[in-house]
């Protein structure tokens, strides 16, 4: 079959296209455009989708109450698949679509890649989950804020837990060579050295996505480590704990908030039992957290996933700042974020000079009967 493009066809098509695009142009300017970026598909989607849900819940609530200063909030959702090379496109798309603030990104590597684009555009970015030290502590990104504690706080939490609480001093530190896992592992190593208690018997990076980790597991065994401290994400962690179990190795496994995800338990199954993971602090005593969780159950019919509370808090803080400042200019928003405390599911928070939320830390969790529970 041959398709002929006549002049008539083309002009009709052009008319249709114009008609379709006209309404979209009409509403521009009457809304606050709220970008949400993160992995919404791909193997790490379980980190990103709860953030979309959190933003949706808060924004629906705000819009139902008449919006902010008379303006409705409109969500622009873009997927970055957690990949640095894609997140730059995601950021460019959001900026050109007119996003005024952005909630995201989720993965540290993707966030670092996207930040220069937002910085040039002068857009406020608040992440519920990117823990890389560079984002705040380097001072390179004045427009970046986050509602999770930085790795610099997470590594010591993991090591202190392993050494002081579990009493295990021979430590094997393994990481995934990525932007998130490697600095975490390096921080852990440094902390062991400063602490003067405990000893790093093995420090290695593994190739993410490899088909089989039995060689590294044998090496862990050979090193005589009592505890494995892992910096990285859940797919690798679940492969390692599965192989450890198969090789009859019962070394303790302490990991980070990239592993504190229910997908890890689902995939690793029985091998996940007894695995420790640091995670965003336990907020179950906070009534706002319980309320947010209820709202999620009602709207989506399931328990919220990873970083939900942080994302909820970030959205509340951002919208509050826009409301108080009556502007979406970066300088005005920063002033409000840094000076005014706001009630969120992660506590009453404001942000320090660097952009880290004050009063947000880590709790340690352990897998018990297929669920993460807080270690008391």
């Amino acid at each position: 079959m041959k398709l002929t493009l006549s002049g008539k066809f083309l002009s009709t098509a052009a008319c249709v296209l114009m008609a379709l695009s006209a309404p979209a142009m009409g509403v521009a300017g009457d809304t606050i455009k709220f970008g949400v970026a993160g992995p919404h598909s791909g193997d790490l989607a379980s980190y990103g989708l709860p953030t979309v849900n959190a933003a949706k819940l808060v924004i629906d609530k705000v819009n139902a109450n008449g919006g902010i200063n008379g303006k409705k909030v409109e969500m622009l959702i873009e997927d970055d698949v957690c990949k640095p090379e894609i997140s730059t496109n995601t950021a460019t798309k959001l900026v050109s679509d007119g996003a005024e603030v952005v909630l995201g990104h989720i993965c540290s590597g993707a966030t670092i890649a996207a930040m220069p684009i937002y910085k040039n555009a002068g857009i406020l970015v608040v992440s519920p989950s990117a823990t890389s030290d560079e984002l705040t502590l380097s001072g390179n990104y004045p427009n970046f804020f986050r509602t999770i504690a930085p790795n610099a706080a997470q590594s010591p939490a993991m090591i202190d837990f392993a050494v002081d609480k579990l009493g295990l001093t021979k430590i094997a530190i393994i990481h995934d060579k990525g932007d998130y896992g490697k600095p975490l592992a390096e921080g852990a190593k440094k902390h062991v050295e400063q602490k003067g208690k405990g000893e790093v018997v093995l420090f290695e990076g593994i190739t993410p996505g490899a088909m089989d980790y039995s060689a590294i597991v044998q090496k862990i065994k050979q090193s005589g480590a009592q505890v494995v401290v892992f910096g990285g994400y859940h797919p690798e962690a679940s492969k390692i704990v599965t192989i450890m179990k198969k090789k009859r190795l019962d070394t303790a496994f302490v990991s980070d908030d990239g592993v504190k995800d229910d997908t890890f338990i689902k995939v690793a199954g029985e091998s996940a039992e007894g695995v420790y993971a640091a995670g965003p602090q336990d907020n179950s005593a906070n009534p706002l957290a319980a309320e947010a969780k209820e709202a999620h159950k009602k709207a989506f019919g399931s328990d919220p996933g990873a970083f939900f509370e942080g994302a909820y808090a970030a959205t509340v803080a951002m919208l509050n700042a826009i409301d108080k400042a009556d502007s979406t200019k970066l300088e005005d928003l920063k002033k409000v974020l840094q000076s005014e405390k706001v009630d969120t599911p992660v506590g009453k928070i404001n942000f320090n000079e660097k952009g880290d939320a004050i009063g947000v830390g880590f709790s340690m969790y352990v897998v018990e009967k297929g669920k993460y529970v807080v270690v008391k």
Binding site: D43, G205, G209, M211, A215, Q218, V267
Partner: protein, 300 residues
């Protein structure tokens, strides 16, 4: 010494994993000189099919052996039909096109299949059921070589011997060799080249499906992306051993697996890939056709 043996078996397992996939690459290359980049995806589809069938059967309470056999058969049939169809859709129309065209078509097919499974199934990692139980007689050496490792090793050896036998001594094997040597000549002596090529894709895909079932139950998790990395490593192994040669694919895979394992064990796992690819470069410098590959003159 214990440590050496442990690493040796880790490497052997890893190598056999590569080998199960590399065999399909090398067979297709041997016959039509095409690097079938969609082969990793066939393996992934095999793993998904056995996952779905095994999950359904275990709900109905079938015994484990029956589950393994039925899931295996389903995966083989399903993957083979994919392999057959892919050849008909993506490669056959390009049989007389320049060599680059089917290669691009293969990459496109690979991307298509990945995204198809992503959309039709899920983006999440799925827990693969333990299809191979821990054999009691393996328990004393389970810390060195487990039951799934053993199954993978045995399957690889059996498959390699069976394939060699088929190609050396059966009628279809003879036809495959003839097609590989000279396609036009093979047609002239009455061989249905199209059928031979289809048969090659079916056999290669069936192997990938068996690999999918075994490897997934070894690793314990699958998602839509597993085929890509598996494909790259298996392809490397096939080139290392001499692409087009069946014992070469197995040898190359084992060498690759052992190199990675020993590099991890005695140097650092940070350099695992560095050593693997350094080896590839070295072998290609001194023996460009691979370890067991035949140096052939370029047919014009």
């Amino acid at each position: 010494m214990d440590y050496f043996i442990e690493l040796f078996f880790s490497g052997l397992t890893r190598g056999s994993i590569y080998a199960l996939i590399a065999l399909g690459y090398t067979m297709v290359y041997g016959i039509i000189g095409l690097i079938n980049f969609a082969h990793g995806e066939i393996y992934m589809i095999g793993a998904f099919t056995s996952f779905i069938v095994a999950t359904v059967l275990s709900i109905y309470g079938f015994p484990l052996l029956a589950i393994v056999i039925i899931a295996g058969i389903a995966a083989v049939v399903w993957s083979s039909s994919y392999g057959f169809t892919i050849e008909k859709i993506a490669y056959k129309p390009l049989r007389h096109a320049p060599r680059l065209s089917p290669l691009i078509s293969a990459i496109g097919m690979s991307i298509f299949l990945q995204n198809y499974v992503l959309l039709a199934q899920t983006s999440d990692f799925l827990p693969f059921p333990t299809l191979i139980p821990d054999f009691p007689f393996m328990e004393p050496i389970a810390h060195i070589v487990g039951s799934t490792d053993l199954m993978i090793l045995v399957t690889t050896v059996v498959v390699m011997i069976a394939l060699t036998f088929v190609i050396k001594f059966t009628k279809i094997g003879k036809a495959m060799r003839a097609t590989a040597q000279d396609r036009t000549m093979a047609t002239l002596v009455g061989i249905n080249v199209n059928n031979v090529i289809s048969a090659t894709f079916i056999v290669g895909s069936a192997l990938a499906a068996v690999g999918g079932l075994l490897i997934a139950s070894h690793i314990g998790q699958i998602n839509f992306y597993i085929g890509f990395l598996a494909g790259i490593k298996a392809f490397t192994a096939a080139v290392l051993g001499g692409i087009g040669s069946i014992p070469g694919a197995v040898l190359g895979s084992l060498i690759l697996g052992l190199t990675e394992s020993f590099a991890t064990g005695y140097v650092s796992s940070d350099y695992e890939d560095v050593f693997a690819f350094m080896l590839l470069v070295l072998i290609l410098i001194f023996k460009p056709s691979g370890l067991l590959g035949k140096a052939t003159n370029q047919k014009v």
